[in-house]
Amino acid sequence: MSVAPTSPLPVLKAADYATDQDVRWCPGCGDYSILMQTKKVLAKLGVDRSKTVFISGIGCSSRFPYYMNTYGFHSIHGRAPTFATGLKLARPELDIWVATGDGDALSIGGNHFLHVIRRNLDVKILLFNNRIYGLTKGQYSPTSEHGKKTKSTPMGAPDYPIRPLSIAIAAGATFAARSMDVDVKHLEYVLERAAKHVGTAVVEIYQNCNIFNDGAFDYATDKTTKSDTTIYLEQGKPLVFGNGTKGIRLREMNPEVVDLASTPKDDLLVHNEQAQPAVPFLLSRMRQPDLPEPMGIMRSVEKERYVSVVRAQNEEALAKQGPGDIQQLLDGPETWTVS
């Protein structure tokens, strides 16, 4: 992400990033908010539309590129990271975003999700998690709760759900964060941090599918419950929630809820975005109803980016061997002449 402008920035508005296409998500869908906050962040950062590419797979979320007036590629189910990888290899200077969903990224595209993260490709992944298949009209997804009754699981989903950020952190994510569609300020903050991150950023966004899984995140978004069910992470600050009444303490490697009336704040886990992966992994496992679900940046570290390594190898070969002589390559190791 190149955010250091060398010339005066044109003043951009979110609307400058909109296309002429009618947005075709269902009225009331959480995707609208994600689209709006993304456009706002790009406008705020003065991002050059011509050097920005949104790539998606298949699913409701994957319509995203059609609504961004940048370059875009609506590819095939689960495979968006592969197209992003080839594009980044060919054009390292481009800012590439991947819009994906829980089915797209974690089911059919699970393999690519792992590898784009472990390579630290330097793309921003927006993972719209609605815990359901929307486009195919309501089957359970890899993040659906165990026992969830859907069209394809009338007696309840037999699978156990996957936690997207656990996977990301296990794969070595250099940036892993969570936000939700309705908390627009927080979402904007997280997206801005992701945009500025140097490396692959994974942002899980709790997104309400008001048609097939309405209210899936009510516990986390409802004003009356959210202070008890979620916990907002802040760098260097202890993990406090419940309107300042409760905190998270690690005991024998287990996070537990403590009452701040009886426990000093010094005992609490202090958030550190650069902590060992075990810590953000642990945060990524915290789940209702036992524990509040963390929102914010779980991990943000720097690591050499894949394309930098690849390009450096090419530079090194060039420096050591000199520019390749194509005729020499055709001639090969040995020639003979017939006269």
Binding site: F73, G86, R91, H112, L114, Q313, L329
Partner: protein
């Protein structure tokens, strides 16, 4: 004096037979013979020593005449152990030379190879000239002063065998001595041991009375020019680099390791100083996804694989058809279905690459006809892909990928440039129209980073001209037909047919891909015998050559030899309503010249050739063509 000889080295996969064969080939090429080779790898990396499954072979045909195949029959076999003898002896001509390493014929190894008793002692060789050489002992004696351990010295026995065969055919040892020197420059003892073994083998031939003659194969009368030896996979790799230079574009090669295509990745990964970017993907789908992504970015995106990989890439090839992006897909075919015969050759992916995708999904297909032809075919694939904005599939197979032949090295400056333009301006009053076509039916290749041309591509049906998502019935039909017409009307970037013989007669032999050599040689042989035959070898499988319809009418019979059960034949019969007969072989081995000749004779004699599909379907062991196993 001999005009042509076929030698086969055979041993355990750890015996260094591929190296011995390659060295013999290089030296034969350097002394001016025409050459053609057939490496035959075992499927297992290291099958248990001494077993039939572990036998690795390398066959070289070298000649003073033009040759087109690695040879039908073996004139000299080197068998390093009983298993190598057992699996290869039947290929040796009657009266042929069989050199065996008698040290390896222990009762245990004899049994392991499935012999009831030692074949060296039971009259098995009455029809051959058997030469028993204690290669282990002689190699050990030659290298005893090098300070190497017994195990390391034992590894030099391929060089002893090579030295012996060098003497037999009057080849110099110097090229291999030089090779050993550069290969083991950091291991002087190993270098010394190998060199001593090589020279000892040569001297053994010279001094022993086992052989009473030495054979000479004079230089071939090849056309003047600068030659090198090349395999198909090498030719594909350097063809890709050449194409990127001709197009002035970066090459991004994305691949997942798969036999027999991996050497393309290995080769290209050493060409970084030519501006080549290689990407070893997490799977076959990621490989083509990345190739398409690179092409979207304006590079030459390319992926290489074999049949199972093509199956996995099918959906993405469809996306490249829909988004009309140039991407080259190399399919080095192998025996199938499923994992099949990974190290053996076959031509059974033709219908897969032609039709193996959802929807109406036309893709131009070019089939290379020989190892050297892979070079031109690769450049043509890029030229077509970028000119017409389409994925292009390049077919090779295990036979030409690993086989080698001499190649007249082209002068790079004289190769035709690949012209590519990326628009920088809007192409319509309404703005940039990503699906507004030129006269060739190609849409503009606008790339990210170009201000003002921002657009969105994708797999949903596109509206004509604007490229917006569109589901209208008439638009869909129009787009399906436009995509088809673009492929149907494309102009080949090289010869679409290789023709041998006259343009009319009794029999036309139609082939494609790696059968070129065997069909051409068979056609020439038949013509010398007075048969009115010609051969038509197709390089452009889709669209099929325009003049083919007319050509097929000028012959009384049409025969289609293929290493499958009749895939091209099916296409020819359906498209041209021609009563083409098949000559089909699916044994993981290429056709011999004799098989094609026999097939032609049998067809002209009024019979359906043995091995034609109708008979092959019967399923008898001898249903293939005779002598092929």
């Amino acid at each position: 004096m001999l005009s042509g000889v076929t030698v086969r080295f055979a041993g355990d996969s750890g015996d260094g037979m591929q190296l011995a064969g390659t060295q013999f080939t290089d030296t034969s090429a350097l002394v001016g013979n025409d050459i053609s080779t057939l490496p035959d790898f075992p499927a297992e990396i290291r099958a248990p020593a001494g077993t039939l499954a572990g036998v690795s072979g390398f066959q070289i045909h070298f000649s003073s005449n033009d040759i087109y195949t690695p040879g039908d029959d073996v004139h000299a076999l080197v068998a390093m152990n009983p298993a190598a003898l057992r699996t290869n002896l039947r290929s040796v001509v009657s009266g042929g030379i069989v050199i065996v390493n008698e040290d390896a014929f222990t009762p245990k190894d004899v049994t392991k190879a499935g012999y009831a008793k030692n074949p060296l002692e039971d009259g098995t060789f009455s029809n051959y000239r058997l030469i028993k050489v204690p290669i282990n002992k002689l190699t050990a004696a030659a290298a005893k002063d090098t300070g190497l351990g017994a195990k390391d010295i034992d590894r030099c026995k391929n060089m002893f065998a090579l030295g012996l065969v060098y003497w037999l055919y009057g080849r110099p040892v110097e090229p291999t001595v030089n090779y050993i020197k550069s290969k083991f420059s950091k291991k002087p003892a190993v270098e010394q041991a190998n060199t001593l073994a090589l020279k000892a083998g040569y001297a053994f031939g010279e001094t022993t009375e086992l052989f009473n003659e030495q054979y000479q194969v004079p230089k071939a009368k090849l056309a003047p020019g600068k030659y090198r030896k090349i395999t198909g996979n090498e030719a594909v790799a350097i063809g890709m680099v050449a194409a990127s230079k001709l197009a002035n574009k970066e090459l991004v090669y994305c691949s997942y390791p798969i036999t027999p295509a991996s050497d393309i990745l290995h080769n290209l990964s050493t060409f970084k100083n030519y501006g080549v970017v290689t990407f070893q993907a997490e799977d076959e789908i990621a490989a083509i996804g990345a190739a398409i992504g690179a092409s979207f970015g304006g590079a030459l995106g390319v992926t290489g694989t074999s049949g199972p990989g093509i199956a996995l890439k099918a959906e993405a090839i469809g996306l490249a058809v829909m988004t009309e992006l140039p991407v080259v897909i190399v399919d080095v075919q192998r025996g199938g279905p499923s994992t099949g015969l990974p190290t053996k050759t076959e031509q059974a992916d033709l219908l897969q690459v032609m039709y193996g995708r959802n929807g109406e999904c036309p893709v131009p297909i070019i089939a290379a006809s020989s190892p050297a032809d892979c070079f031109n075919a690769t450049i043509e694939a890029f030229a077509i892909a970028t000119k017409y904005m389409t994925p292009v599939i390049l077919l090779s197979d295990g036979y030409i990928a690993n086989g080698s032949e001499p190649w007249v090295v082209p002068q790079f400056d004289k190769l035709e440039k690949i012209k590519i333009e990326h628009p920088t301006q809007k192409n319509d009053d309404r703005g940039f129209m990503p699906y507004k076509r030129n006269a060739d039916g190609a849409r503009p290749w606008a790339i990210p980073g170009t201000a003002g041309l921002e657009h969105r591509l994708g797999g949903l049906e596109k509206q004509d001209v604007t490229g917006s998502v569109n589901y209208e019935p008439a638009n869909h039909e129009k787009m399906v037909r436009l995509r088809q017409a673009k492929v149907n009307n494309l102009k080949p970037a090289g010869p679409d047919i290789l023709w041998t013989g006259p343009t009319s007669g009794d029999l036309l032999i139609v082939g494609w891909g790696s059968t070129y050599g065997a069909i051409k040689a068979a056609t020439l042989e038949l013509r010398n015998a007075g048969v009115a035959v010609a051969a038509c070898h197709i390089r452009y499988m889709n669209p099929l050559p325009a003049k083919l319809a007319e050509m097929l009418k000028n012959f009384k019979h049409v025969m289609v030899p293929e290493m499958n059960l009749g895939q091209l034949r099916l296409l020819l019969r359906s498209k041209y309503l021609v009563d083409a007969k098949g000559l089909n072989k699916v044994r993981g081995q290429p056709f011999t010249i004799g098989e094609v000749v026999a097939g032609a004779k049998s067809l002209l004699g009024g019979e359906v050739p043995a091995g034609a599909q109708e008979i092959a379907m019967a399923g008898a062991e001898d249903a293939g063509i005779g002598g092929g196993g």
